[in-house]
């Protein structure tokens, strides 16, 4: 399933790239794409693991930039 999430306080392009890379490594994620300019995360993932994946993705983003969050 493919879904787009809005991100908040995504302030640096390099951070966005790091987050994208980290999210891609989460098990169950088929593809992840962060658009720095539109502040959006497009995630294609295994629906059955939705909750875990989202929690992991949030953690991954905050590891790179504390202020950044996925809405």
């Amino acid at each position: 399933m493919k879904k787009t999430f809005k991100m908040q306080n995504l302030d640096c392009a390099n951070c966005a790239a790091k987050m994208e890379q980290a999210i891609q490594k989460i098990p169950g994620v088929i593809s992840a794409n962060i658009s720095f300019m539109t502040q959006k995360l497009t995630l294609e993932y295994d629906e059955s693991k939705e909750a875990e994946i989202l929690a992991e993705a949030k953690k991954a983003c905050q590891k790179v930039d504390r202020a950044c969050s996925i809405l």
Partner: protein, 622 residues
């Protein structure tokens, strides 16, 4: 500028003031205190962030690198350098945010087309509801100054509509009873009663918003390259810095360690890739934003790169190169005068909804008294048979004539043949006029390096060939069914793909498979046609075909600016790293090499937002 931004700028200015005051002081404690105050004022956030990042295992983060570089500078006694590095880096970051926010705002501006509410008549009362709650067939009222919330047909009133937000076209469009209107336009002067023809989620405005919101979700290869590059760049520079600090002293002795250490710190100052990484998506985004303002919706920055490399353009004819509306070209009566033949034709076609019938009635221009028509029958695949004023009139194609045992000469053009009471009367021929800008657009494309073009048409051979000749297009494929178009396009693609990318432009109704097959599919005149919006990679909102060369020119400019930014930024950084390794640089210069370069690159990218010059060259050359 937001309040937080203003505060930040104030902070930087204050710190700069204290720093300058410090520079003017004689060396001593007072000076040191001033330097330190300036440093903390502007760098406290960075230090704090760096510390907390280390605990979260983020080492090569720009806060950390900046902190190490500046603290290191203090350690070897280069106080002003340390303060300056921090100050300038913060200024650079401020500028970065400002630029990013500005270009984000330009896209958000596009979102202003979203209607907030709709006024709908229910049980004789006018009530205000969300656009999503209105159903097909309901009647809405749009007052002057309001946005049209849903697509529909005007049943009462006339006005002019401002379509600028959708098409980039500044001229308002006059609309009258019976006209179709699309959501997102602003009603300027008259009240309109509109019968809704699409629910909100299918309406033009919802489709466009979806398109705008998802713009830039597909990244260009250059964008991917630069993020991949950044992943290796920072660790590589940091490791080199460590090597530079410790390896040479092992060989030449540690008495000059502070010099090597200084060089290593300079490496750290220029090791942040963030600014370089920002200028690339910013460039593409600015390109997409500028295009959107002109009514050219681009679905991702990858299509900008494809378009920049465009070498071959293939067009659908009807509705793309031509107006898609038939007009009478010639009336050729066998005997008698033209007006008479036209009148008979108008009678014959009085009930038909065929586009040719509409063109005939439009040309005739008079109301037809239905009392004179005593019989009317559609003859599928042939034409119509109508009895009017006692005359039995047949109007239709050449096959209809043959079925009546009449053998008139067949015209090359699209035509309606007429016979009455067993006698051939004459023929009316039609043409679908080419758009007045089409020829110019093809020429402009050629001047932009789109060397080959071709036309795919469902029309008769003679009609298609004539149109292509008029436009200066050499390759023409005619009498094609939709499936043939796919096949021929696939062949063209094979033939030309070595030379560059191949684009296809259609009006989207039956072109979807070809649009999908092209490197970049462009749909024209998408206001109202959602099939096009979905199948195409680039959507041109209005019918102006010159938007295609405009899009190509913009794409080329975007690609050029992005590439020059990369070459410039990497070049300066590379040269600087070499100079530093040999000790021919200082920290002041390092900051310029890092922050200065990124500011220039960002400013360069921002230039893309302003496309007035480009537009003047293509759309309004005078």
């Amino acid at each position: 500028m937001s309040r937080a931004q203003k505060r930040k700028l104030g902070q930087i200015a204050l710190a700069a003031g204290i720093f300058v005051a410090g520079l003017l002081m004689p060396e001593g404690y007072v000076q040191l205190v001033l330097f330190f105050a300036a440093y903390l004022l502007v760098g406290f956030g960075v230090l704090k962030e760096a510390l907390s990042n280390i605990f979260r295992g983020q080492v090569f983060d720009e806060n950390f690198l900046m902190s190490i570089a500046t603290i290191g500078a203090f350690a070897i006694g280069e106080y002003p350098e340390g303060v300056f590095v921090m100050l300038f880096a913060q200024l650079g970051e401020f500028f970065e945010h400002y630029a990013v926010n500005r270009s984000r705002a330009s896209i958000t501006e596009m979102m202003n087309i979203q209607p907030e509410s709709a006024n709908v008549y229910r049980q004789g009362e006018l009530i205000t509801v969300e656009p999503e709650e209105v159903e097909v067939g309901e009647i809405i009222l749009v007052a002057p100054g309001e946005k049209v919330p849903l697509d529909g047909v005007i049943i009462e009133g006339a006005s002019s509509l401002d379509t600028k937000a959708l098409t980039g076209e500044a001229m308002p469009r006059a609309v009258y009873e019976g006209d179709e209107v699309v959501s997102g336009c602003i009603n300027q002067n008259g009240s309109l009663k509109i019968r809704v023809s699409k629910v909100y989620s299918d309406s033009t405005v919802a489709k466009i918003l979806e398109l705008v919101e998802n713009a830039a979700s597909q990244k260009a290869p250059t964008e991917r390259f630069i993020t991949r590059f950044a992943r290796y760049y920072t660790p590589a520079v940091v490791i080199s810095a460590l090597a530079l600090a410790f390896v040479p002293p092992i060989f030449v002795g540690f008495e000059h360690f502070s010099e090597w250490f200084r060089r290593a710190l300079i490496f750290l100052v220029i090791s942040c890739p963030c600014a370089l990484v920002i200028s690339v998506p910013l460039g593409f985004f600015s390109g997409i934003g500028a295009a959107a303002k002109e009514g050219i919706m681009i679905k991702g920055s990858n299509y900008l790169e494809v378009l920049a490399k465009c070498r071959t353009a293939v067009f659908d004819k009807t509705g793309t190169l031509s107006q898609g509306e038939f007009a009478i070209e010639q009336i050729l009566p066998q005997k008698g005068d033209e007006a008479e033949l036209l009148e008979l034709a108008a009678w014959a076609e009085c009930y038909s909804s065929h586009p040719l019938a509409e063109a005939i009635r439009k040309e005739y221009g008079q109301n037809i008294d239905s009392n004179i028509i005593s019989e009317n029958e559609e003859l599928p695949g042939l034409g119509v048979k109508t009895v009017a004023k006692g005359k039995t009139i047949y109007a239709g194609n050449i096959k209809l004539m043959h079925s009546l045992n009449l053998n008139p000469e067949e015209l090359a053009a699209t035509a309606v043949y007429l016979a009455a009471d067993g006698e051939y009367l004459g023929v009316i021929s039609f043409n679908d006029a080419l758009k007045s800008e089409a020829k110019e657009a093809i020429k402009l494309l050629e001047s932009l390096g789109v060397k080959d073009s071709a036309v795919l048409s469902g029309d008769k051979k003679a009609v298609a060939v004539q149109a292509a000749e008029e436009l200066g297009i050499k390759r023409v494929y005619s009498e094609l069914m939709p499936a043939d178009k796919v096949e021929i396009f696939a062949e063209l693609k094979k033939e030309y793909e070595q030379k560059g990318s191949i684009i296809y432009t259609g009006d989207g109704i039956n072109d979807a498979p070809v649009l999908a097959l092209a490197d970049c599919g462009i749909a024209m005149g998408a206001m109202g046609s959602d099939a096009a919006v979905e199948a195409a990679d680039i959507v041109i909102m209005d019918d102006d075909i010159r938007k295609i060369p405009l899009a190509v020119a913009l794409a080329k400019r975007t690609a050029f600016i992005v590439r020059s930014n990369i070459v410039f930024a990497l070049g300066v950084k590379g040269v600087f790293l070499i100079l530093t390794a040999f000790g021919i640089s200082n920290m002041w210069e390092a900051v310029f090499a890092d922050v200065g370069v990124s500011v220039i690159a960002i400013a360069n990218s921002m230039r893309l937002l302003n496309i007035k010059k480009l537009k003047d060259k293509i759309i309004n050359p005078n």
